[in-house]
Amino acid sequence: MSTAFDPDTSRAPVSQRRQTVAQTDPKNLGAMVTAVIDDVEVKVPFGTTILEAARTVGINIPTLCNHDDLCVAGVCRICVVEVEGQRTLQASCAYPIFDRIKVRTFTPRVRRARANIISLMLRNHYGECYSCAKNGICELQKYAEEYGITEYKFGHIEKPRYKTDTSSYALIRDMDKCILCKRCVRTCIDLQEVGVLEAAHRGARTKIETYMGKPLDDVICINCGQCVNRCPTGALREKDCTDDIWKAIDDPAKHVIIQTAPSPRAAIGEAFGLPPGTSVTKKLNTALKRVGFDAVFDTNFTADLTILEEGTELLLRLKKALVDKDASVALPQITSCSPGWVKFAEHFFPDYLDHVSTAKSPQQMFGAVVKTWYAQRNNIDPASIVSVSLMPCTAKKFECERPEMNDSGFQDVDFALTTREIANMIKKCGMDLPRLPDSDFDDPLGVGSGAALIFGATGGVMEAAIRTAYEIVTGEEVPFEKLRVEPVRGMQGIRSAELPIPKAVDDWKFLEGAVLKVIVAHGTANAKKVMEMLAAGELTDYHFIEIMACPGGCIGGGGQPVPTSLEIRKARVKAIYGEDESLAIRKSHENPVIKKIYEEFLTEGPCGHKSHELLHTHYVKRGKKIG
């Protein structure tokens, strides 16, 4: 049961880390111990928790504070069980098995304790389920139902205690629904190493707070939304903008288009009961058209554009550094597709922003192209276009509101919706997504390559860039079977790879014989490690780094269906790689519409004047100072 949680970087106390098996003789590591759980005997690896051992015999102990991606907390106490020889009940999520153990998971004392604990949680859980964004996917609701809670045994709060924080473009914090499980705290500090949230005050006044209780948009939140994915209740959610979308769709004067990113199509099925890893691209197209969008486009188109722009930028940086001997060129170059990562870099590494590619993210390139090239070609007044995106991401909501993102003369992207929001819109229309017929994307911005599609998985941008850049430089296809650039794939937090360039075409002769060195990192805890190496001058011989803010890359984004786990993320990644191989066009530079846009519109080519105007941006040195 491996997790994304890395004990080496954790701030969590030693005893609360998942792997707490260091305390006895190391020879026991890897040994098997016997657990007798409700009279069923099972052998588990030394150090396995009671919770994990129970799962292996088909017993699901309820949990609220426990999350497989996070370090142990042991605070909600709903997972308590009887351990033979112990006077008190024990939290099964936090109890590692070192010796033969006898456990009972549903004795009368356990059942009473769990029911009381749920009643205690409901006491200060303000509001009713039917008026909650997490209605139907709330874990507290699920257990209240399981334990037959039909009345508020210990009372129920009638007035809100706190003001809901709606200051962020991306996230809403409603502390009246918080049950203090601290999953958000552990996500923010241990998983992402951002550290915006912490428990403040004591006892019944305990509250999860930002620094000095400041609004979320005033602190160093990167909007990644990983806390939303792990919050068991409605205390954390994205800022829902579906009402604005309905209004636009209902307005005949508006031309409402939607671009859809690759990751939601590999995950939205989960919201309709499909198993993780079921790709529903073409059914989703049908659903979006029926919802009422005037055109359904593919963000993969601008992902391909990103590869051309960002890849060219890299080659130009290399040329400046190696041929022109310009020492001011920042290398390695780092990707800029992930708005959570970009804001992380702006806060934590403001002195290294010149390493970040100036290329906008695919979402923002798309926005700039729709209100210019697309509007001109189709004789549509750009002022009447409402540009919507479907993203796996909450940080995209912040990104599209960035003041510099209006190079088309308008706000380039008007609304960024999460996978969850779109799933709700589709449900509202009474559509059962899995049963819809297939349909294609609309022209002309509906053509994307397989390289663009794999942007959704960690390592995907790197692989797409390698498929194109290698071919531009050498004139030959990358030397990997079925174009699978395996060295940059996988789920390891930080991966590095080397790619020799044995020969080069005339334009790029200076690269002949060079070895391209790259790094891929996902999750900002890993990004921090990479950036610390960069700051220490240890990466001077590297050329290109891909960083995604979320574990697993975009498929694990903060806007994706809940729940999330390593297994779910792996299934989504698999779906994306599978779909890539089913496509005819699998390299960004072979996308015919990309060729067309450089012929018709961006006539100076990648990184030309017009590209710079529309498709590139700059960053803000934010630092960590909170005003």
Partner: protein, 392 residues
């Protein structure tokens, strides 16, 4: 309060460094057996056998180990550790040095209650003097290769930091919240290394045991509770103060010593302890009967015990760390429930809900604080039924 302290063990005569010198002449394993043989149990209240604890730390295979003195005396009604810190700090430090010698630690800490900051300079002076005497630092008292020193770390006034794992969290600079156990501090303690955490009184007993022998020590107290206990006596009595009593002494005997009159109840063990009524005054202070960390609060017949229960709950409401559900959310329910009981509005059914909640708090809270919150509440409601009436 009496200024003279006399008693069979803790307050008995002992030469400076007598215990430490005796220890350094012995093998570690022999000291360990002596401590184990003496049946010394932790004086903080839980009563874990000290020899077993030390043995676990001694056998843990780590290069770094720590000895920590829990000087976060915070239980309402206890003040005996303050007397030890002012009267015999050197004996405490000697006890720590012996522990360090036995388990193989080279660093020690005294986690001093925030409210005891005024004791800090005096304790620092003693440490300085001990360094000058060679009883702290390198090659202690000439023992080649045995290095150990003690630092004082200040608490910030949280009661829960008296819980040993919360104390360690606090020492590490984290929020003072109890950890999950297992693992226990003896193998995963301060900074993840094996750590022995003992109460001041426990450490003070150690030099006596090493110098005078386990047999001598076992000559006091009962079979299961060897030695003596310091009691902090307060409340309705003529002679409040700190007393060293042998384990096995009855509540009534203590009341006689402190000249308490018209006694209605005794709260033994502070807010987290239990409330005894007259019918229980024959019970004995001992691990096998009424265990205590040392607080002994006397209530005479003019007191309303239900108010006392309310005061204890208010204390816990203030001091709960707030991390686990039963404790954080349960205490306000008990306070509300007690209010209903007091005002005669509590139904039989709700009373049963409260009792069920108490069971949950005792069984499912993460640490001893939450687990012991219902003790006073339940025992007071049980013993003083005449003070309230339920509605049917």
């Amino acid at each position: 309060m009496s200024e003279q302290y006399e008693g069979p063990i803790v307050f008995s005569e002992i030469e400076p460094y007598a215990g430490l010198k005796a220890a350094l002449e012995k093998k570690k394993i022999d000291i360990l057996s002596e401590v184990r043989e003496s049946n010394l149990r932790g004086r903080g209240g839980a009563g874990f056998p000290t020899g077993v604890k030390w043995n676990l730390a001694a056998t843990a295979k780590e290069d770094k180990k720590y000895v920590v003195c829990n000087a976060d005396e915070g239980e309402p009604g206890t003040f005996k550790d303050r007397i030890l810190l002012t009267r015999m700090p050197q004996l405490l430090f000697e006890g720590m040095v012996i522990a360090a010698y036995v388990i193989g630690a080279d660093e020690g800490f005294v986690y001093l209650r925030g409210e005891y900051r005024s004791l800090f300079p005096g304790l620092e002076n003693i440490l300085k003097k001990m360094r000058e005497d060679g009883a702290l630092g390198a090659n202690i008292l000439g023992k080649e290769g045995f290095h150990f020193d003690i630092q004082i770390r200040m608490g910030a006034g949280a009661y829960v930091c008296g819980e040993e794992t919360a104390l360690i969290e606090s020492m590490e600079g984290q929020r003072g919240e109890p950890r999950n156990r297992p693992p226990f501090p003896v193998n995963t303690g301060y900074n993840g290394f094996p750590t022995v955490v003992n109460n001041i009184e426990t450490f003070v007993n150690v030099p006596h045991i090493v110098a005078k022998g386990a047999e001598w020590f076992k000559g006091f107290g009962t079979e299961k509770s060897a030695g003596t206990k310091l009691l902090s006596v307060s409340g309705d009595c003529a002679k409040p103060g700190v007393y060293e009593v042998e384990y096995g002494i009855s509540i009534q005997d203590v009341l006689n010593i402190v000249e308490a009159q018209e006694t209605q109840a005794v709260q033994v063990g502070g807010a987290s302890g239990i409330c005894l009524a007259e019918k229980d005054f024959g019970r004995r202070i001992a691990f096998e009967d009424v265990p205590t960390g040392g607080s002994f609060i006397v209530f005479n017949k003019s007191r309303k015990m239900i108010d006392a229960a309310g005061n204890f709950l208010k204390f816990f409401e203030e001091e709960s760390c707030g991390q686990c559900t039963p404790c954080r959310e349960g205490i306000p329910v008990l306070i509300e429930g007690l209010e209903r009981i007091r005002s005669g509005e509590c139904s039989e059914e709700y009373f049963q809900n409260l009792q069920s909640l108490c069971e949950t708090m005792q069984l499912a809270s993460k640490c001893g604080l939450g687990q012991s919150v219902p003790n006073a509440f339940l025992s007071i409601l049980d013993n003083f039924k005449s003070e309230y009436e339920l509605v049917s």
